[in-house]
Structures are given as structure tokens and as C-alpha cells.
Amino acid sequence: MKSSRQVIKISGESGQGVNSIGEVVAKGLKRCGFYSFGYREYPSLIKGGHAFHQIDFSDHPVSAPSRASNVLLCFSRVSFHAYLPTLTVGGQVIHMLDELEITEVEQKFIAEHKIKIYYLEAENIAREIGGRAIMANVVMVGALWKLLGLPIAPIENVVRQQFADKKDLVEANVACLNRGWKSDLGNLSPLTILFEKNNKREDDALLSGNHMLALGSVAAGVRAYFAYPMTPSSSILTYMADVYHETGILVKQLDDEISVAQFAIGANFAGTRALIATSGGGFDLMTETISLAGMTETPFVCILAQRPGPATGLPTWTAAGDLNLAIYAGHGELPRCVVAISDADSAYTLIQKAFNISEVYQIPTIVLTEKQIAESLFQVENLPADIPIERGLVTGASLDKLEAADRYKLTENGISPRWLPGESDATFVANSDEHLADGTLTEDPLLSEQMYAKRLRKLDTLHDALPEPVIIGPKDASVTMVSWGSVKNTICDVMDAWNELHPKDNFNLLLYEYIYPVKLKVLTGLIDKGQPLSLVENNATGQLGGLLSQHSGFQFEEKLLKYDGRPFFVDDIWEYLERRLTK
């Protein structure tokens, strides 16, 4: 497997443009005919520290990061010291750090790992040619390209595109790039790329899960986006605002998350589609409103972008530890839907589904994502098909026949007619107190119970309508991994190579994207036939596992749980499979 991908880590301080250089490199690789995936690590501070953008590339689609890299580009001293240890044997470093001091421990590591290091006086070059030290980054990219043995034209085009709106800088940057490309690279050895450039998808888009959530929501007819900044959801807000002239969407940053949730329920009740997003701490503050959405049967869609908790936790790192929160938060018993995206494509599709579910079933829907999906760069060929909007609203002539008591009418499937303020003479009250069919408050035991049960019946109706989790990979496998979220990408990245090498010890994946109400048929099918199941989650307590145990009675004995703020690296899965083999 290892030989089927190469890994480049571009590192520097926060604020040194690591990310934009990462994007340039990824685009260049794409134009050269590779598939790439961009993974970011950065601290929760504005400038300084150390951060990287790592690009895994290959001749086939990749969507998860490796633990170690083959090439390290360093823009800052701290990043050199931080990331040297993450190089593979034979790894190579290009840095621009005058009089870099290397510690004894590092020397030892370098020797043992046969690491080669090259100093490029990129800043001097940049100042000379481009007049600005910041262009050193581009010089470094040129040198990288030399090391990769790739043609300069594609990356030159990317640089031209990148600086298209700063015309005065384009030529200088291109000159810097070429000058870097002409470096001698000292004792570095040109990278041996053992895989093909199957030059077919050079026009693929490179974008993050958050971008795709935003695009999916625009496609779904979302007309208002309210938010309070919180990593890793904030980049949705930034993007929504950046394109708001194009989309015409109302984009408004509010002053706290309770306001955000209430604005959304207000706008949804009035009759538009409003989207909101936050992370765990902000979500806590929204949970009373989720309870309200359940009670008043008002559509409500919230993206919960996970990061490690509790409390402030690791704000710029990744985790999948808020599944229980999504399912159980908000007081009282209410119907809701919880879905979890796993990559850019499912982001686009599930956010659209979420709005349809929320409107048709008149329930809150929580869309889980993770920093790993939110901020990684996925290569996407085309947009998945749009999902036709379903609003479940009374329309047209039927509006004239409505009575107030239709609004919360007791129905078999629990779903009652819904219409918007201003659309019919039949006015009603959406009441957070327990109520009768027209919303009038009631405290009667029988009538209360009936309305309570009606609401909860929607959960059964929805359950019947939701798809079962999918099995990815061979139909028959010696073990089935059960998982959700970004872990899917790592598992899939490993799957083909491993299964080819180990046809008898192969595996497949049962992926939950529609998580609650929980679908069990496929799972219990597997349980019943005695299929070995292994739970893989990016948290410490195995929350999906807990949910499945609760409803199926099955207890997972095999678990692979990770909770160090990092996503699953392909190595984590590979090594786990190897450990399993030797057990």
C-alpha cells in the first residue's frame, strides 16, 4: 500500500501561508495527473506555533492522511523541529532556515532514518527576484517540483491562476517558482514515484467538507445562514459570506448561539430554509431550542462540527465524540434525526436530505461532521446529483380548506398538515406547552398523552423511510468494520491494497450515515450469521457501538478507538489489521 502513495508535508508557522501553498501544490499535482488529499494540522492561535498542510497523492483517489511523510517543506524553525520526526525512512527535507541548529537527538534520528536535508536560501532569492520575502514560499514550491521530477508548466499555471487578481505579483511569483525549480537540491535524490499519472481528472475540484456542506445547502434552497463563529464550523460562515452576492442568501453572524438557534427556528417557522452550524459548546446552548423544535414540530437543521472536548478541548483538532450529544441532548422526549457525513460527496447530499427530512417530518435534524472532514481538501470530480426539494407543505387550493385543528391533527404516521403564516385563514398557535390539535394548551392526561405519542410516532415513520447502512467493499469478508464519519475514508483508503494482499483475511465496512433513528436490519443480518464485527470510532467510548448495542443487544468485543485529536491515519488501520492477523 505504502508504495502506492507519496506524502508531502508543507510546514511553517500559523500565518505563514502554509494553507495556500498546500492548495497550490495539491492543484499542481492534480494537473500533473495525480489524485490528492489535503490534511491540515494547526494550533489554536493566530500567528506563530507550527502548522502543516499535508498532501497525500497517488494514481487512485485518496481521501485520508498517512501518519508520516516522504518530503518535508519547512518555512519555519519550529516546524522543522516539530515535524522532522514525522518523516519516513529515506525522507527528504527542503528548508529555508539560515543557520538551522540541529539537536543531537535530531542528528541521531536523521542518521537512523537516512534523512536528507537541503537548505535553500529561498528568502534571499525571493527578495532578489520578487522583491518580497513572502515569495520564498513559491521558491520552495519550485524546488519541491524539481524533487518530484514533475514538469513545471502545470504548476506554473496554478500559480498564475492563484495570483490572477494580483496582476503585479504574477510574473515575480512565476519567476520565483522557476528559480526554485532550477535549484541543484544538493544531495537530495529525485523522488521515485512508482505509480502512474493517469491524466484524466485534472479538472477535478479541490475543496473541503465545509465547502460542500455550504454548496449542498445552497442547492437545497437554504436562504438564510446564521452563525456564531466556532471552529471547525467557522469556515462555513466565511464561505457563505464570501459568496453571498452570488447566492443572494442572507448571511448573518449573530451574538451568541442561542440567538442563532432561535433565529433559525423563527425563519423556518416563517417558512424559509435557514441553516446554522456550530461545534459542541455552542451546540449545548442550542439544545433547549432543539427541544422546542420537537415540541412545536418546526423544521430545524443544525450542523454539529465536532472537535475534541470536553469544554474548549482541542479547538483546532478532530474527533467524533458528540454522537450521544446529538441523539440525546435537549430535554424531554422528542423525535429527531441524526445523520453523519463522511466526506465531501456525502456532505453535499446529506445536507439536502436533512432539510427534506426536517420539513417533511417537522423535526430537528442534526448533521454531524468533524474537523477532519470540515477542513480537509477533497478531490471531487463532479457535484453529486441534486436532491429535489420536499417541503411537506399544504399548498394551493387545499390551503383554503384548512382548519386550525388540522395543524397538529392526530394521524397514524404522526405527521400532520403544515402550512406557513400568511398562507391560510386557518391560524393556529405553535405552542411549547403541551397542546391540542390547534395548539391550544391542554393538561388533560389523555389528550396530552395522545399528542405526545403522535409526535413520537414520527420517529417510527421516519425509521421506516430511512435507508439501511451500506456495506462498502467485498460482500463477504473475514471481518466487517462498523463505523461512521471520517473514519470511512481511512478504511476505504486501505481497503483495496489490504484485501489484494490478504484475500483470505480481507475486510469490508458497514458505514452508518443515517444514524438515528437507528437502522438494524443489515447489522442484525451480520450478527445472526456470526460475522466478526469490529467497531472503529474516533472517540474513547465507542458511541455508535453503544447505540447499536442498546437496540440490537449485540456487544462489540473488538474495538479500535482513537481520541488523541488526530484522525485515523492509513497506518492506524493497516497496523490494526496486521495486529489482528498475528493474534
Binding site: 479541490l206 442561542i258 440567538s259 416563517a270 412545536t296 398562507e423 385563514d425
Partner: protein
């Protein structure tokens, strides 16, 4: 957007707002008058039930939410302002009036009052200021006077009360009025001005609560209120004048429209990317192609 078959303004009747549900407030509660005045204001403005969205907080006043006509939302304690503001961003054709108590508005949700005023969202907000938490049996609120013994504060509260007008004037409001639950006519007039104002209209109702507010009963207010029309030379367009006549809430209490900025631009008209839109957000929900946006990532 389909419009209800009652057509445009013009045929609204008091009885259209009638509900068969029976009010459950205490005898002589100020809330009765407030509801009567709200109905009268709407009828006078020829606004029909189906053309309104009345939003209620949780509190005694909110228990009236199922006893009046109109589209209504009875939400969470303290959250009526952001609910109503959110609704106002989506649909500006339906008149939105939000009602909140002093507990919900100046306690639990005071942050939202700040947000609503600063954003100048196009709603009318009616503060039922009865100087206590009525529905939870008479605990002190932020407007309870210092030293008055209440449920949960046997020796009286230890802070000075919030002065609602002083507070909101510090935030640059575009409309500020005060009225009294004992004078339906005055309330109706005041509500009408508030409803017609584009932007956030703040109306404080001095609401009598014969059960828990024994310090300043109906008569106490009755004796002290004075309409701005009787205050010589008051110019509601002058915020510093408004500020100063609003101050006295012990001896001579100014009621009526204390301040109105006639150039008020409501929130929806301040949005750079929407200001020329003819449609409201509620009219725009359809699948939109994002191909072009997607292409920019290629």
C-alpha cells in the same frame, strides 16, 4: 407565495381575533387590557389574523397565546425576541409582534434585547413589565424595586432595578414608547405607532399585577402617568430629550411615543446582497444550481 383568501388589508374585525379559549389570568390582571389593545390596534390598522405573527414568551402574558386570533408562536422563556427577529428576516409581509415579560426580557434573555435593538429587526416588541416573575409565583425580576420583599428574597433584592428605557437608550434604539395596562385606548394608539414603525419598536407596558406587585398597583400608575402630548415641547425625534423625559419612573411617568427615528432603516434593508431583492426569503426556497460556485474550486 400563496396568500390566504382573505385578501389585502381592509376588512379586519375585532371579533376575527376572538378565541373560544378562556383567559386564565387573575382578576384585574393588566394583561387583559393589553390583549384588548393589541386587537384594537390590529383592527384599526386593518390587519387580519392571517396577516400577523404574534410571538409569545413564557410567563403569565404568554398564557394568552391560545386566547387570541392570528398565527402565533409560544416559544421558550426569554427567547421571544430572537425568534421574532429570525422570522422577520424571512417574511416581512406578515406583521410580527413579540410579547415578553420583564423576567424573560431583562433577565433570561437580556442579551437578545440588545441584539434586537442593535440589529433594528422589523418587529414590534411589547414588554409586559409587572415588576416580578408572575408565572413562577412572584419572585423578583430585574425591575423589582430594591428592598421589596418577594418570594425567594425575604429581605428584598439587593440591587437597584434596571431602568428599561435608560438601558435601551444606551443601545441606539429607533423607536421607544411607554404605555400603561390600565388605559386600553392609550395602549392601542401606542401599539399602532409601534407596528407602523419600520425597525425594532420597543414598547414598555407598565403592567399591573394585583397578585404579586403590591407596591405599584393600578392606581399608583394611574396617578403618575402623563402622556408626552401633555409635556410641553416634547420632540419625539430628539433622542436626548427622549432620554431625559424617560428618566422619572417614580413621580411623573411619561407615556406615549418617547422617541422615534423617522429615518430608521430596518435590518432587511441594510443587507448589501439583498437590498434590491423583490422577494422575501420565504419565496425563494428552490433548488439552486451551484455548478458555477463548484467550478471555482477546480
Amino acid at each position: 407565495m400563496h396568500s390566504c383568501n382573505c385578501g389585502d388589508r381592509g376588512h379586519s374585525h375585532f371579533s376575527d381575533f376572538f378565541s373560544e379559549n378562556i383567559y386564565t389570568w387573575c382578576t384585574n390582571c393588566g394583561n387583559y387590557g393589553i390583549h384588548a389593545a393589541v386587537k384594537r390596534a390590529l383592527v384599526d390598522l386593518e390587519i387580519k389574523p392571517c396577516q400577523t405573527l404574534l410571538a409569545f414568551d413564557i410567563g403569565c402574558h404568554g398564557n394568552g397565546s391560545d386566547k387570541i386570533g392570528g398565527y402565533r408562536f409560544h416559544g421558550l422563556h426569554g427567547r421571544v425576541i430572537p425568534f421574532a427577529c429570525g422570522a422577520s428576516t424571512a417574511n416581512s409581509k406578515v406583521k410580527i409582534i413579540a410579547f415578553g415579560g420583564d423576567g424573560g426580557t431583562l433577565g433570561e434573555g437580556i442579551n437578545h434585547l440588545v441584539l434586537g435593538i442593535r440589529g433594528n429587526y422589523d418587529i414590534t416588541f411589547v414588554l409586559h413589565n409587572n415588576l416580578n416573575y408572575g408565572l413562577t409565583l412572584g419572585q423578583p425580576s430585574a425591575t423589582t424595586k430594591q428592598g421589596v420583599a418577594m418570594n425567594a428574597a425575604p429581605d428584598g433584592v439587593t440591587s437597584e432595578p434596571i431602568h428599561p428605557m435608560k438601558f435601551i437608550f444606551s443601545l441606539g434604539p429607533t423607536f421607544a414608547a411607554r404605555t400603561f395596562s390600565g388605559d386600553v385606548g392609550h395602549m392601542a394608539q401606542t401599539f399602532k405607532a409601534a407596528i407602523e414603525h419600520p425597525g425594532f419598536s420597543f414598547v414598555e407596558v407598565l403592567q399591573s399585577c394585583p397578585t404579586y406587585n403590591l407596591m405599584t398597583p393600578h392606581e399608583w400608575y394611574q396617578e403618575r402617568i402623563k402622556d408626552v402630548s401633555q409635556i410641553k415641547g416634547h420632540d419625539a425625534g430628539d433622542i436626548s430629550q427622549a432620554n431625559s423625559i424617560a428618566l422619572d419612573i417614580e413621580k411623573e411617568i411619561a407615556v406615549g411615543v418617547l422617541y422615534q427615528n423617522k429615518k430608521s432603516i430596518p435590518f432587511n434593508l441594510r443587507q448589501a446582497n439583498r437590498v434590491n431583492k423583490k422577494t422575501a426569503l420565504v419565496d425563494e426556497v428552490k433548488n439552486l444550481s451551484v455548478e458555477k460556485l463548484f467550478d471555482s474550486f477546480r
